[in-house]
Symmetry: C2
Subunit: 306 residues, 2 copies
């Protein structure tokens, strides 16, 4: 078993990855995870100190410190940590940035060595979809057709289709706890993954990880690298407006106007919703404020619990 | 472990069923399946004499000898055999026979004792869909929208949604081969399940089982019990016409006219298709003839490889 400090093994093929998983899980020493799980986690049933456990972090690569938090939590909670790196064509619409989405596997693997991953699953599109685009897919229903789903038709169906497949590929072939890690920045995706896991009876615990922000408050995103310096400054209107909304300094209408008034920023939506149903509610503690906006040609999202 | 001749254990809850599966698989003696698998099966990689293996037969109950063939094959090939009995509301359309579909669990369990099942999973609708109808579902795409899917909109989406969930629930929690058994009478369903298993990377071998016919040639179906004596005689036009088509005695037009001319029978479709794509082809050896018709108010299907 590679140590957290060593380079992770990169697998390109599904069969190779599954064999490596079985090998690592079988070879995992009978010990608690690298760091003890907290009493709170155990009492919530979110972690068990079994002899082997597997954490999966699904990513599209172009890794940053936000992914680092996901992988480090997986490292704390599991004996084996796998990270998938796959830019999934199904979740990009026509005219979106599938072609130019950054592909930086070499530096991703270097980062993953630091973050503590054991295995990297980096399949080609042909490996994941050998017959072309899949005929049978996951559909996300009403929860996937509002907000980001309204702006990006088919996006969540594509995202759930690949997450379901990645979970099936990665599910431990030997008795072991199985956890998958998703960032809270993609709040609607996280909600839909939770629903899918429940609706499909997938044998995995979904573990949410809080948003990581740069010092200036901008939520980390692989797409931030599209921004030039002026756009980067303009983008700060998103977290600042969310904070003002949470502090009660602005109502929703004023908050929307503030974002739209920012140079080079075009608001897609700013809403306050019930975090379980995505139904709009009056701003109140526990409600979730969600924002999406184009900064130049780059679409950014952010959110904050009020 | 119950012997094939004993009464199977009936589980109503998902957790209870999964615990029973783990128990039976762990307790399964290290032996080859009850009957040796044939050399042909082994050479096709369809059966392995591992220490434990699990066969699942998904059904809607109202069992008959056609199901018997499925369960007996599962019994031959696996150390543990589970049968699910669940009338899945998602795959019935408005005005279809969900309410009156026969529910005969007591006699089903008696039959399953004879067929050799170890476990029966018979959940309620509330157990399978605790939050009401699932938000996230499986969608069957083009292959699910033609033929029976055109006549029954949403039927295959509903069927795949429950099959996916049943497979996830039943997937062995310990290392074991996993096989699921489907009848060839539901040819389009079988094709779609195969596609789903490939597209979703589900860890299961799909095993097809040939159609079982009564002495008069009618394909066994739970819905045959809806037929009165005269309808039953009329229904024989379906297998007879398929055989005449296969023998080259009728062309497709004449075959359709023959079915439509039968008293009380209303043809839905009679087509000859490529069995992998369901695209219509000229009748030729290896092509698949598919028929669907209403006999009275009962919708029946049948098929035959030419």
């Amino acid at each position: 078993m590679s140590t957290p400090a060593g380079a992770p093994r990169v697998c390109r093929g599904i069969d190779e990855f599954r064999a490596a998983l079985a090998d690592r899980l079988g070879a995992a020493p009978e010990r608690a995870p690298q760091e003890q799980t907290s009493r709170q986690q155990v009492s919530q049933g979110q972690a068990s100190p079994g002899p082997a456990s597997l954490g999966l972090v699904p990513t599209m690569g172009a890794l940053h410190e936000g992914h680092g938090h996901l992988v480090r939590l997986a490292r704390q909670e599991n004996t084996v940590v796998a990270v998938s790196v796959f830019v999934n064509p199904l979740q990009f619409g026509p005219g979106e940035d599938f072609e130019r989405y950054p592909r930086t596997l070499e530096s991703d693997v270097e980062l993953l060595a630091r973050f503590g991953a054991d295995l990297v699953f980096a399949p080609s599109v042909a490996e994941m979809y050998p017959g072309g685009e899949p005929l049978v897919r996951v559909t996300s229903g009403r929860l996937g057709s509002v907000l980001d789903g309204a702006s990006r038709p088919g996006h969540f169906d594509g995202a759930l289709t690949v997450v379901n497949k990645l979970l099936n590929i990665t599910a431990p072939p030997v008795p072991a706890a199985f956890r998958a890690y998703f960032g809270e920045k993609d709040a609607q995706q996280l909600l839909l993954v939770r629903r899918m896991v429940a609706d499909f009876a997938l044998p995995v615990d979904v573990r949410p990880v809080p948003i990581v922000r740069d010092d200036d408050g901008l939520a980390l995103s692989s797409r931030n690298r599209y921004l030039d310096a002026a756009q980067r400054r303009s983008a700060l209107v998103l977290p600042r407006t969310l904070r003002a909304l949470a502090a009660g300094e602005l109502d929703l209408g004023a908050a929307r106007r503030r974002i739209d008034a920012e140079d080079g920023v075009r608001l897609d939506h700013l809403v306050v919703v019930d975090p379980r149903t995505l139904v709009p509610v009056e701003p109140a503690p526990g409600a979730l404020a969600l924002v999406a906006a184009h900064v130049g040609s780059t679409r950014l999202i952010d959110n904050l619990v009020l």
